[in-house]
Subunit: 112 residues, 2 copies
Amino acid sequence: MGKPHDSLIPGTLNVLILKALSQGALHGYAISKWIQQASEDVLRVEEGVLYPALHKLEKERWLRAEWGVNDTGRRAKFYSPTPLGKRKLQAEVARWKRSSQAVSTVLDAEEA
Amino acid sequence: MGKPHDSLIPGTLNVLILKALSQGALHGYAISKWIQQASEDVLRVEEGVLYPALHKLEKERWLRAEWGVNDTGRRAKFYSPTPLGKRKLQAEVARWKRSSQAVSTVLDAEEA
DNA sequence: GGTGATACATAGGTAACATAGGTATCGCCC
DNA sequence: GGGCGATACCTATGTTACCTATGTATCACC
């Protein structure tokens, strides 16, 4: 346990979740599906990874949760970003761009 | 301990090291400086992070190490990629491109 | 009644990084 | 001679974050 597959880039899950919620509340399962679909099936968020992450973000006040009912009438917990979460989204996106661009630059470098 | 600053994107250190060594052997301290310089000072690899990583890569036969002397006559341990390490560099660069592109695509998505 | 999708959750394992220390040599400047 | 910063190596400890496995329950469908 604890390392195979490597679907996600560590440290990117929070910002992916926040992005998923940037246009409106979604429940956990839908967040997972949205990330998978928006990444054209490259990124998969296993449920054992997603739910603890959501609980943590809720505890840290990046998200708030509310029980509701989905399209098909099933109970589900809907998450929305708090004002703090919205600010964090901006900051985390900026950080990702900066860092990932730096990594790509290094990996494209001609000479070592 | 264990989380502040966030200089590195977790999971990218190995490939950055391999890239640094792709044009020839370097010693640890020079690897650190090279990554910092090639990333235009965005990425910094603290020594307490670098050296354990080098030892692990050596143990896993991605790198081999040899004591030598640097330009200025000081003793230093020089690392070179093994054939396995060269293959890993290609594979890890490809994986990075695929995954980081997916994250960027998601974060640029218009609609959630 | 079985299966697969939906929807939530927790438990245990491990790797990876951040921080903080520690040793030693060398050049430079006062 | 003393101090300082850069070079060059190293280990120990803490914590996060992810991976896997497993569990519950509902619902549609055949």
